[in-house]
Symmetry: C2
Subunit: 159 residues, 2 copies
């Protein structure tokens, strides 16, 4: 799961789309001005979102985009996966399975990154567009039991 500004832009746009969903479809230029994202860049993002089946397009004047499903059925993880294609993750996966298993010690961290990926995906899968709109971001996740003593709090989302 890649976490870039591209994915963030896509989510911003989709939230905007969900917010302004009405009878009429929403045009990209509306989203562009509201969210301050360039129109042509948005077009690229929505091309991918459409191919992924997350939105439907209506062409011609008065056209625009609609959510393919409801805002409660569209999860953030889907949006990010649609625009940021997955790419390779841990060094050993590039080496094609064998190299990794051959020298165990080299890939001690392998499980760690995989598990981290799972965590991120699980979280983002648990959040729908509607959740974001209504600011329902309950820490769905139980606090880690031990070890969470000090908080070097300088947090920031990944880029």
């Amino acid at each position: 799961m890649k976490l870039s500004t591209k994915g963030r832009y896509a989510v911003m746009a989709m939230v905007d789309l969900a917010r302004h969903a009405q009878a009429k479809p929403v045009s990209l230029s509306d989203i562009a001005t509201r969210q301050e994202i360039s129109l042509s860049y948005l077009e690229q993002l929505f091309a991918r979102l459409r191919r992924a089946g997350l939105v439907k397009s209506v062409r011609g004047p008065g056209g625009g985009y609609r959510l393919a499903r409801g805002s409660a059925e569209t999860r953030v993880s889907e949006i990010i996966l649609a625009v940021d294609e997955p790419i390779k993750a841990t060094r050993c996966t590039e080496m094609g399975a064998t190299g990794c298993r051959a020298d165990r010690s080299k890939c001690l961290t392998h499980d760690l990154w995989e598990e981290l990926g799972n965590q991120i995906h699980t979280f983002l899968s648990s959040v729908s567009l509607l959740d974001v709109l209504e600011r329902r971001l309950a820490s769905r996740i139980a606090e880690a039991p031990a070890a969470a003593a000090n908080n070097d709090s300088s947090m920031a989302a990944a880029s």
Copy 2:
């Protein structure tokens, strides 16, 4: 929390260091050959790790590095924060607080990224070097209750 290969290299090196911790300190060239990371690059990483107080150096022949604390007391999150300085996250933070609060609709996703950052940090804080060494990566985190229906499983760690 930035998730780059730099951070991964640092964690790999620190796990290697924890694994080979003995009476003698571990030299970077040993780590370099075992983990296939260039020596000079490792030097840069360990300079930061040292400044962050995660390792101690011993100079001169037979010198090298030691963990400043035990492997059970060193958390993965600390390593990543030490080498990948935090950087800006959510666009509105760059705009300096006011801009964000002024137009609420623009920052609907703000809470989402912040919460995601918390999730990642919480997870990585819950894992110590010893945990990685012994492959104790229990899904410390409760499965998300609803919504986790489909698994579009193409996962990969962030880059």
